[in-house]
């Protein structure tokens, strides 16, 4: 009974948090991109555009969902559902924290503890192509079709280097369970450098990490591999015809995929919830210091008379006090074993999401043939070589 109740609560919480994260990933993307491009970004809806995701959601919900007369209605409606369902499912195997005791039950933040977690993830990411392929085909539009063709080819091609890059750290840890993978990355070289898989002792997986990241960009259709929706060529690619919540589903799927793949990268290569440096040197204090600093900065800016926006004079102190109040929570001994690891996990995954956005603001887009050539003649052999070297060293050393 307890187990079912707990799982239900966790499911509801995970869905809520993930969907909110997706919505705010869009906000963060727009803000970061805007600041790279000398613009303020969303600013009107709520303080600093913080309610923009909500406004977008209401707009999309109330729009009419148009099914073109020449589209295949069944597959046309199936595609966005498939895309978003698969994208949201993948998060269930990610372990966010180590296990802890709650009301006498051992549990962890994270839905399941699947012992074939990695295979499950790979299966889901392969299925993800179908949403886009079917959507592009069912729209019966030339731009959509070209977008989905490109996308299918791209995602299938990049799955190989992605899988190869995943396999090499697996050789080091010898398990498919994501929780165990993280637990095995515990500890520090020379008491300072974390024993994450990027810095693993026989063969550091830094190259594998880079390959994984590049393939992840392609898998999630992001710049510089955003050909399926290359708006300067294909208008909007595979979702040209979609409107309303059907479009929002594709959009949500894209961001859910980004968040998931960043979490996977964190688990596989960046040591999951393990801190950047040992707790003896005060890594436990990082969240406290960060939150307190952010809170103080907000209060400082709230005190500035030059703040032009009416909102800021009210919201800055509120958020400032909120963050200051949140800071000591990380010092409470009971909550510490949960919150500190959770903080480190979110920080690492969040940084990777930021890298995704950063790259979008910097690089141009690859051309279709160059993209394929890059995958097959460069990335794939490289990942294979990485795997080979890792395997050899592990076999000889082990």
């Amino acid at each position: 009974m307890n187990f079912y109740l707990l799982t239900l609560i966790k499911m509801a919480l995970t869905a809520l948090v993930l969907l909110t994260c997706c919505a705010y990933a869009v906000w963060v993307e727009r803000k970061v991109l805007a600041h790279i491009q000398l613009r303020p970004g969303p600013y009107r809806v709520g303080p600093h555009g913080l309610l923009q995701p909500l406004a977008d959601l209401i707009k999309l919900l109330t729009k009419e969902g148009i099914v073109p007369s020449y589209a295949n209605p069944f597959f046309y409606l199936l595609a966005p559902f498939l895309a978003v369902a698969l994208a949201l499912t993948a998060i269930v195997v990610i372990p966010f924290t180590p296990e802890f005791e709650l009301f006498g039950v051992r549990t962890a933040i994270g839905l399941t503890d699947l012992n074939i977690g990695i295979l499950f993830l790979l299966a889901l990411s392969s299925l993800g192509v179908y949403g886009i392929a079917i959507g592009g085909w069912a729209s019966n539009n030339k731009y959509s079709l070209m977008g989905s063709l490109r996308s299918s080819a791209q995602m299938v091609s990049y799955e190989l280097p992605l899988a190869m890059a995943i396999v090499s750290p697996l050789l080091l840890v010898n398990t498919l369970n994501l929780r165990e993978i993280v637990e095995l990355q515990n500890g520090f070289h020379f008491g300072l450098l974390p024993k994450w898989n990027v810095f693993a002792s026989p063969v550091p997986q830094a190259l594998g990490f880079v390959i994984f990241l590049i393939a992840a960009f392609a898998e999630t259709n992001r710049v510089p591999f955003d050909l399926p929706e290359a708006e300067s060529e294909l208008v909007a690619g595979f979702h040209t015809e979609y409107s309303s919540m059907m479009f929002a589903s594709f959009f949500m799927a894209e961001y859910a995929n980004i968040i998931t793949i960043c979490c996977v990268a964190t688990v596989l290569f960046l040591g999951g919830w393990h801190p950047l440096w040992p707790a003896e040197y005060g890594s436990d204090l990082v969240p406290v210091v960060l939150l307190a600093a952010a809170g103080l900065m907000l209060l400082f800016h709230a005190a500035q008379a030059a703040r032009r926006r009416k909102w800021d004079r009210f919201t800055f102190p509120v958020f400032g006090v909120l963050l200051l109040g949140l800071a000591p929570v990380f010092l409470i001994p009971v909550l510490k074993p949960v919150l500190i690891p959770f903080f480190w996990f979110v920080a690492k995954a969040g940084f990777l999401v930021f890298v995704f956005i950063w790259i979008r603001g910097t690089l141009p887009r690859y051309r279709y043939d160059q993209l394929m050539r890059f995958a097959w003649t460069f990335l794939f052999p490289l990942s294979l070589a990485n795997l080979l070297v890792t395997g050899l060293v592990v076999a000889l050393a082990g």
Binding site: Q37, M146, P224, L227, S232, E233, V235, G361, P364, D369
Partner: protein
Amino acid sequence: MADTFLDSTELVLNMGPQHPSTHGVLRVILKLDGERVLGTECVIGYLHRGVEKIAENRTWQMFAPYVDRMDYVAAVSNGLGYCLAVEKLLGVEAPPRAQAVRVILTELNRIASHLLWLGTHALDIGAITPLFYCMREREYVLNIYEKYCGARLTTHAFRIGGLQYETYEGFEKECLEFCDLFEKKIDEYEELLTGNRIWQQRLTGVGILTAEDCKEYGVTGPMLRAAGVKWDIRKAQPYSGYEKYDFEIPVRENGDTYDRYIVRMQEMRQSVRIVRQAVADIPAGPILAKVGKVIKPPVGEAYVSIEAPKGELGYYVVSDGSTQPYRVRIRPPSFVNLQALDKMCRGALVADVVAIIGTTDIVLGEVDR
């Protein structure tokens, strides 16, 4: 291959007039084999306003603002060409002071036009950020225009016979400030794009137009120079005192999209050089030659061409001795350069078409007139 059971036909794709990267209302009909382009057909005229016909029932002065509306991102160059043509018909020449100011404003306009090209071209290739940087610098130029004549885009900066307005106080200083600032900014753009491997891969070898092709199609401007022909009307047939200034004509040899990009980037640097020289030596004196309130050129015809940012901009004006032009024929560089689109696109990929349209640097207002 007709007897294979999997028979396939070419895909005809309609690109535009509503498409994010056709720079206005250009419509390109593509015939595709997969992603490869078999042929293209341009449909133009969505922005046709009959500018040449309008000229025939306006007076000579009244028509001048209309030419600003052709290439609206390089309105000053358009105005200069028209004024020079009518001046040639009248047999007058603008005073030296007016000529120097004209050169400054025209070169600043070349920079503004190239900046807009660079931003949109990068946007087409998928780099979204340079557009905003380019717009930031373009703003300085537009502010100078606004202070000088009150308008930012369709300026109508010049008058037949010289200038309407004297330069404002601090004009020279602001131009020099812009030059100082802009030279650093070009380095910034080059850092973002020129050395970028994706950028190079996307542009190199795409849309090649050889010198022979250029001559056959009548392609001029940076596209011609990127193919290795050292032809710039500012040097070949100097007008408005360009012979006084020391500058180089950037030339490349391959004639692909990358070379056109490099040529335009270097042209901006040369424009800065010209502006510096011109600002340093603006002669004193009148700004308007004696042309009278009513302009009645003698019966005759004149052709004047100038080096507009996009290529050779020609005005052929015919007078029947009245206050109105008998005929004004305009040779817009965008229109002529666009002819080579099909030649460049054949065998390319869909993504290249966008790059090629971007590098042709067309303005549909000028193509359609």
